[in-house]
Symmetry: C2
Subunit: 168 residues, 2 copies
C-alpha cells in the first residue's frame, strides 16, 4: 500500500499509469508490447503488497484463468519492470522480493522473521546519514537499503514464531 494516502494516478508526481509508463519504456527500447507483458504489468499494478516471482506466477494462473505467462517470461518481465523504474527489488531469505517504486515515496522496512512480512516506514534521517557517511568516504551513494529485522506484534504475542534464519 502506498505510504502517502493522497497518492493517486494522474497527480503531478505520476503523470502516466504504470502500464503506460511501461509501454513507453518498451517502445523507446524497440521492445514489444505483448499480451504477457500487458497482463503482468496490469496484474502487478492492481496489487500493492510485496511479492516474489513465484507468487506472481501463481497469482497469474489463478486470477486470470489459464497460463498467462511462463516462469521465464515472468522473471524476464519483472526485471524489465525494475529497469523501467516501476518496481524495486530486494533480496530476502534467498529470494527476490518486489515492491512498487513508481510514484511511491522512498521508505525502508521492518522485516518480521516470524511471518516474513515487510512493514514500511519512512525516515528522512536515514537518507541524511547515508549522504553524510558517503561524503566522508568520497563514495558516490546511489541508493541504500535499511532493513530492521525482528518480530512484529502479532508474532510476538502469538507463539507461532517460526524459526528465524537471518538471511537478511
Amino acid at each position: 500500500m502506498p505510504l502517502d494516502p493522497d497518492f493517486s494516478l494522474g497527480t503531478v508526481a505520476v503523470a502516466l499509469s504504470p502500464a503506460e509508463r511501461f509501454a513507453e519504456f518498451l517502445r523507446t527500447r524497440g521492445k514489444r508490447i505483448t499480451k504477457q507483458r500487458r497482463a503482468i504489468v496490469d496484474h502487478v499494478a492492481g496489487r500493492h503488497e510485496h511479492f516474489d516471482a513465484e507468487q506472481l506466477l501463481a497469482d497469474l494462473r489463478t486470477t486470470r484463468a489459464g497460463a498467462v505467462a511462463s516462469r521465464p517470461t515472468v522473471y524476464r518481465t519483472l526485471s524489465e519492470m525494475v529497469d523501467a523504474g516501476l518496481l524495486n527489488k530486494m533480496v530476502l531469505d534467498g529470494r527476490a522480493v518486489y515492491e512498487h517504486d513508481y510514484g511511491y515515496p522512498r521508505h525502508d522496512h521492518l522485516y518480521c522473521s516470524g511471518c516474513r512480512r515487510l512493514i514500511e516506514f519512512s525516515s528522512a534521517e536515514v537518507a541524511k546519514i547515508c549522504d553524510a557517511v558517503a561524503a566522508s568516504h568520497q563514495f558516490r551513494a546511489r541508493s541504500h537499503r535499511l532493513i530492521v529485522s525482528g518480530l512484529c506484534v502479532d508474532c510476538r504475542t502469538s507463539k507461532r514464531r517460526t524459526r528465524h534464519q537471518d538471511r537478511v
Copy 2:
C-alpha cells in the same frame, strides 16, 4: 580490519580468542573439535576481510597445502561459527558474505557495485532510528542491516565500472 584501533585479544571485551570461544561453543553443544573445524577457525581468525564460502575454500587449499576441508564441511562450519557468534553473515549479489562479529563493534556498510568491496562505517544514529521506528510499530528489533550502495573513489575515478546489478 577492526574498526576500533585499540582492539586486541585479551581485553575486557574479548576474554577468549576466537578459536577458544568456538571450542567452548562446540563443547557446550556436545560437538567435537575436529582438525577441519580447527583449521577453519584458525584461518578465518587470521584474516579480517569479508569473504565468502568459495573464497575460504580456495584459501584453505592454497595456504595450507592439501585439502583441509571439503566444501560441505566449510559450509557447515561457517554456519556453526555464525551460531557461535564469531561471524556475521549477509547476502550480497546472491552469495553469502561473512565478516567477524566477535569482539567487533557494530557497524554498517558502503557497498561498491563496481568492485564489490564493502567499506565499514559506524553510526550511533542509525541504531537510534531503528529503535525509535521499531518502538513506534510495537516491533521487537533484533538487528538491522544498512547498506549504502554506489561507487567507491577508485571505481569513480578509474573508468572500470563493471555493470552494477543491484542485488542488494
